[in-house]
Assembly symmetry: C3
Homo-oligomer: 346 residues x 3
């Protein structure tokens, strides 16, 4: 595609030769002739000056400072991530959407399929309701009573158990498990000594429009009401959402996060990789929880926290900066104690 056209399509300003053509997008360090190089992170931007790319897609700030140094045509964008996504769409035709129900799929006679639903090979669909243009991946399982909204894509091997309702324009990752009972047990004897009989859950899983759920991620059904994931929430791979969890609109949960039963993640909150949230705790709206953090008390709206137990992020950085010298700190205290124990005059 000619750069002039590409710039128009991705909403970028063109500095240089609009007649050049590019066919691929590459990270700036990998780009060569015929490529549009993309650079966003600081390390990549440093590599921009020596690129072999035919053109570069760069953020406004960097371009303003350095465009004159660069060896090629530049596309300048105020929103580089958005422009990159648009460049990918323009240069890499999306694979044709799968069509129709594969003959090897097992679809219940009572399943209600909208227009242009695609069901992949080996998939199993029960008496479920699939909206227009829903895609069910190979070997996925959709139980009786499941409802899936228009244009939602269920990845290969995903498992949607009874009680699951997914909105429109959502993505459920390969191998994800939605709707299994949560981790709730009751005693099986009169003295209540041991909680060890699973309690049957009667709530469901409600997933709003535009949600993205990652591969092998697990979302348990609610005990009495629904586990709920709000619109446009983005949840990465291998995440655990316990029964009755509430995830707000636009929240972000990075890989391997664990959210225990009844906990709440507020709208637009961000929980970084491998962090954990204790049961019944609330992470506030727009809060930011650091990687590997352990949330054991509520996190206020807008707060940035880190560590286990969580503390304000700055406090954590300072504490961690001192942690490696803790052994030395103890010796300093011991030295002070020794000096104060010495008789006067020595």
């Amino acid at each position: 595609m000619k750069l002039a056209e590409l710039a128009r399509v991705v909403g970028a300003r063109l500095l240089g030769d609009g007649e050049l053509e590019v066919t691929r997008v590459r990270a700036v360090q990998d780009a060569g002739a015929g490529d549009l190089g993309f650079a966003d992170a600081p390390a990549e931007l440093r590599a921009a000056r020596s690129t072999n790319a035919s053109a570069l897609l760069l953020p406004e700030g960097f371009a303003a400072e350095h465009a004159h140094e660069l060896p090629c045509t530049v596309l300048v964008s105020a929103q580089p991530a958005r422009a990159l996504a648009a460049a990918i769409e323009a240069l890499y035709p999306a694979p044709p959407a799968p069509r129709g129900v594969d003959p090897s799929a097992v679809v219940h006679a009572g399943a209600r399929l909208g227009i242009d639903v695609a069901i992949g090979p080996g998939a199993v669909v029960g008496k479920a309701v699939l909206g227009d243009r829903v895609q069910i991946g190979a070997l996925a399982f959709v139980a009786d009573g499941v409802i899936i909204g228009a244009r939602t894509r269920i990845g290969p091997g995903a498992l949607l158990l009874e009680g699951v309702r997914v909105g429109a324009d959502a993505l459920v990752g390969p191998g994800a498990v939605l709707g299994d009972d949560g981790f709730v047990f009751a005693p099986d004897d009169d003295e209540g000594r041991r909680a060890n009989v699973p309690v049957r859950h009667v709530g469901g899983v409600l997933i709003d429009d535009g949600v993205a759920l990652g591969a092998n991620t697990c979302v348990d059904r609610g005990l009495l009401r629904d586990t709920h994931i709000g619109a446009r929430a983005r949840i990465d791979n291998l995440v655990q959402l316990g029964h009755d969890v509430e995830v707000g609109d636009d929240a972000v949960l990075v890989a391997q996060v664990g959210v225990a039963g009844y906990a709440t993640i507020g709208p637009a909150a961000v929980v970084a990789g491998q962090a954990g949230v204790k049961e019944r705790r609330r992470v506030g709206a727009r809060a930011r929880v650091g990687g590997q953090a352990g949330v054991v008390h509520d996190v206020p709206d807008g707060a940035a926290v880190a560590g286990t137990p969580t503390m304000p992020h700055l406090t954590w950085l300072r504490a961690m900066a001192r942690l490696k010298d803790l052994d030395q700190l103890e010796r300093r205290v011991r030295a002070l104690e020794a000096r104060l124990a010495a008789p006067r005059g020595e």
Copy 2:
């Protein structure tokens, strides 16, 4: 169901109108007319006074204090969790157990099936032995030689490899993987410089009666003997149990826990979410390991520990209370050092 009957069924005392009918169970804050509201946690109990529920199911202690303040009939239970489970069973008829072998399932001619075994659509069962009333979920895989005890339910997409034996009345979660080789390697060259050829495992996986395993959880087979999970152990989602791990009866492993090869979890021990146990270590009987803890040395029977490396729980709480002020502590020490360095008289 009439409240008088419900109280009898769940073993609760009735205070109020036994002729009222309820049809559903709801958390107290969600409950309305026709609902039995359930309250157990402190926050929920506070909501009890303003509930719209037709009746409440409450624990003894709280009811004794507050029953007179409550606006509705009350069912009082000495074992609220058990009463809740019974109320769910009473008000929500269990879905009819699946029956028979789905035509789309692939079942080896040599498989031995007990009475009333159910095998779901797309499931694959090898020359295995399935006891009476075993249920195999859609798209699950049961390898040759696997033995499954009566009434055990294998979730959709679960993968039971060769060498796996599961007792009666167990639950294996959707997507769980049982019986894969553990993470053991041997050098492939004479100088032994690199351990990088997988060592074939010849042990199995032995799961006792009444065990519950969560979704996408992995249990590796033993290298020479079995990896063993004791009766009624309850293991949550996304847990990793390495080769040759021994989990005692009634133990509890919460989501995303990792137990390395040869480690032992004692009977009735509880390991909270995201904790890790180093290889060959033992967590004692009835021990309690905190969330995200890192067990690097044995935990005595009955001990409560937390942190990485683990320390007694109280010690950890105190240390963590001080951690956030570590930067300040260093400055206090520095101030003391400065004062002691000043000449006398200043």
Copy 3:
């Protein structure tokens, strides 16, 4: 097999009666008559003296010291792990390799299969290329365009999406997910306030020869170029590898490790269980990252680090030794402050 023959096969020195026969390998504490007992770890070696095994396979050092005390024939190996693997191969005939394409498998007419390819029941294979003797497990999914090298084994239920290329002699664990899009989003509005539209990835996943990937592990495809796993890397269960991650030859990632997008693991590096690596960071060649560590800045080649954030391993051990006494340290400082505040002469 007679011990003399077994010693020859596993490359061990024989001390004792070569005519005895053994049929199984057992850990030393489990071994009885007719067994070869294996002992490598210190605890096991202590049990060697009282073993009931017909023979023991022991490492050089221990045997040199203690062989005279042992009650049975001893096989002495300079490489016990390797000898154990060879003993297993000798005494436990490998199950016959599966052959042929199961009638219940769904294989695209355009799939190219090498010699002696085995495809298990219920598996789905698209227009892919499978090398000689490749094994595809039951209910596994191999998408269009996937390339798999000779003798590679894909476990049951594994999901290989488009863009995945696997070398020869590799192992992909049951339930593993390769090739799903990474966790990359772009704003969907002009002010760029919210990053919440998934960006379509056009890179792939390149897995070199001899790699072992664990059960339920996830490897995301690259955004613009490949996510790459180098030769003979060994990756355990429930590991997350984000988009564009680079794992060097012979690297080891233990269970539940998480490596964020664009991060690099150097050749022969070892990352212990549940550790996390922040995006774009590099763990150097031959580095060792401790269990549960949080890598937030680059780890130099050959360095041993631990903790979150990571610090040199020795520093971490010392800091952690002091951590449990942090409360007491604060009180010691407070006592010093009190003494310095007292008027002179008291």
